[in-house]
């Protein structure tokens, strides 16, 4: 069984982003980039499925600028077998990415596409669901547990009120939540080995996909800042202030 894992290159989660002085967009110049944390969980899960003998091959795919190669190498250092880079300088929105992945699925015929549930840059939380819709496949989003047996996957999902378990027929799209696993650190030998793994480069035109953005960002701004309030002396002081000043209890 082949598993396809899309990975996105995003601003590192520790970076506090700033908007450009003209307010047109987020300033990404000279900012540290990393693999989207949810995608890292997806890569880890796919590699574990391979180690468990369930999957035979783990293919990672990334769409974006040439530097996405680094993200693919990171995924291969975790244990993915090969990478596909869909290279473009166009701003890619979730629908475009889903269409690119649909084209890759037509070629690669994976049984499971394992995606991160959302990217921490645009916080869209769309691509996996869109891909499942385009392919007409079932979807199991926000997975905290994944069990694959035969032609079915049983997925425990994180939902607002607790947990839900669904059974989906393969092929299917599964998106990862935080508690699915804890990704391993890539070891130096594996990082070296990843450099020699196959990495194929293609582009949206070759895949026959129109990636023109559908949404236009008119402006980006920093939200109004909350200013720090006051320090209170003790519990009694706090309760007094909440009652008389803030009037919230």
């Amino acid at each position: 069984m082949k598993i396809l894992v899309p990975v996105k290159r995003v601003v590192d989660y520790n970076v506090k982003v700033r908007v450009k002085p003209d307010g047109s967009d987020v300033d990404l110049a000279n900012v540290k980039m990393s693999m989207n944390p949810f995608d890292e969980i997806a890569v880890e899960e796919a590699v574990r499925l391979k180690e468990a003998g369930v999957a035979t091959e783990v293919v990672v795919v990334s769409a974006g600028v040439a530097n996405c190669q680094e993200t693919l190498r990171t995924a291969m250092a975790i244990g993915a077998d090969r990478g596909i880079l869909i290279q473009t300088d166009v701003e890619l929105q979730p629908l475009a990415v889903a269409k690119l992945l649909q084209a890759v699925c037509a070629k690669e015929q994976p049984q499971i596409v394992l995606c991160g549930k959302q990217a921490i840059d645009d916080d869209a939380n769309q691509t996996g669901q869109m891909l499942a819709g385009l392919l007409g496949w079932p979807q199991a989003t926000f997975a905290s547990k994944l069990v694959v047996a035969g032609q079915q996957a049983t997925v425990t999902r994180e939902i607002d009120g607790g947990l839900e378990t669904v059974e989906v027929v393969l092929p299917a799209v599964v998106t990862t939540d935080l508690r699915l696993n804890e990704p391993r650190y890539a070891t130096l030998p594996n990082i070296m080995k990843a450099k020699r793994k196959p990495l194929e480069t293609t582009n949206p035109a070759a895949l026959g996909v129109d990636v023109a953005p559908r949404l236009k960002t008119l402006k980006a701004a920093e939200p109004p800042k909350r200013s720090a309030g006051i320090k209170v002396a003790d519990a009694a002081d706090l309760v007094l202030k909440l009652k008389t000043e803030a009037k919230v209890i």
């Binding site: 994180e158 607002d160 378990t165 027929v169 960002t217 209890i249």
Partner: protein
């Protein structure tokens, strides 16, 4: 043109976030129709008809909507989409699951988790864990939108919309619900609570959560929340999580206990009216957003606080 809001419900009542979504829809202009797709869900439809601002309730009642699977519901919504300018759902785990599938099948973008409506085609939405607010414009013929519930008031009661039965779509049979384990609690739901008591890694363990925070929450009639660190450490279940990847809350009062205040956590609670932080580390970033900060050992302060509340 009319606007279709996909109601979230448990077949007998409407979930609170749908009320906020209806308010967002009223800002778009156009008659609002509310879709209640479920199984034996006439009670939910009746409740939907009472929501103020709703022009018509569309009731689709069939066994294969019992679990409201995204595959079946998305196919249904796509089939009904003609004639609507906007399709909206709350940005809950249900709405987030279903709506992108709808958008893709209609070949349009989705505008995720809007926090404001500038005009019928222009919306405000937080990105980068709420550190940036983007204004985006959609040129698509139909706008598929999820709504951040805390950014809009809840619609009131008092409506008396007509309930119209609409035909069910096909059962795609792509997935099957095996079961739900819902956290049972007498406390208010996190996203609807007026007061939230939230614990972080500083709580030390799950037992302390139970022993210290639960009585305090009960005293305040509060919901219990947690930071991702506390969830990752296994103190409490994930559905307690407040933050970028958990729940977005905006209560009147948010009491953060033993939470350092990572940006991912702040993303989930910084719109609260009053924030109280209790942490023994005076340098903790949570104090930068707190209205009232108390630098002290939570193991002493929380019982004292409870005693003060009488």
């Amino acid at each position: 043109m009319a606007i279709l809001v996909i109601a979230e419900h448990d077949n007998s009542s409407i979930k609170a976030a749908t009320l906020n979504t209806v308010t967002a829809a009223t800002k778009l202009g156009g008659e609002i129709h509310l879709l209640v797709a479920g199984s034996d869900c006439a009670d939910a439809a009746a409740a939907a008809a009472r929501i103020s601002g709703v022009g018509k309730v569309l009731l689709v009642d069939a066994p294969h909507y019992a679990a409201q699977s995204p595959e079946n519901v998305a196919a249904l919504v796509v089939g009904m989409a003609a004639g609507y300018s906007h399709l909206l759902a709350a940005a809950t785990t249900v709405g987030k699951n279903c709506m992108p599938r709808v958008a893709a099948l209609l070949d349009v973008a989705q505008i995720s988790e809007i926090s404001g409506v500038e005009s019928p085609d222009t919306f405000v939405r937080p990105i980068y864990a709420g550190n940036v607010v983007a204004t985006v414009q959609s040129a698509d013929p139909v706008k598929v939108i999820t709504v951040r519930a805390t950014a809009f008031e809840a619609a009131g009661e008092g409506g008396s919309a007509a309930i119209e039965t609409a035909p069910a779509g096909a059962d795609l049979g792509l997935s099957r619900l095996l079961g739900r384990e819902l956290t049972k609690s007498e406390r208010p739901e996190l996203t609807a609570a007026k007061v939230i008591v939230s614990g972080g890694r500083g709580m030390g363990n799950g037992e302390n959560f139970h022993r210290l925070l639960e009585p305090l929450a009960d005293k305040l009639g509060a919901a219990l929340g947690a930071s991702r660190a506390a969830v990752d450490a296994g103190f409490v279940p994930n559905d307690y999580q407040v933050g970028q990847t958990g729940k977005i809350v905006a209560p009147q009062l948010y009491i953060a206990v033993g939470i350092s205040g990572a940006i991912q956590h702040l993303a989930g609670m910084k719109d609260s009216k009053i924030i109280v932080a209790i942490n023994k580390d005076a340098e903790a970033p949570i104090f930068q957003v707190a209205d009232y900060g108390l630098v002290a050992d939570l193991f002493e302060v929380v019982p004292a606080l409870q005693a003060e509340l009488g």
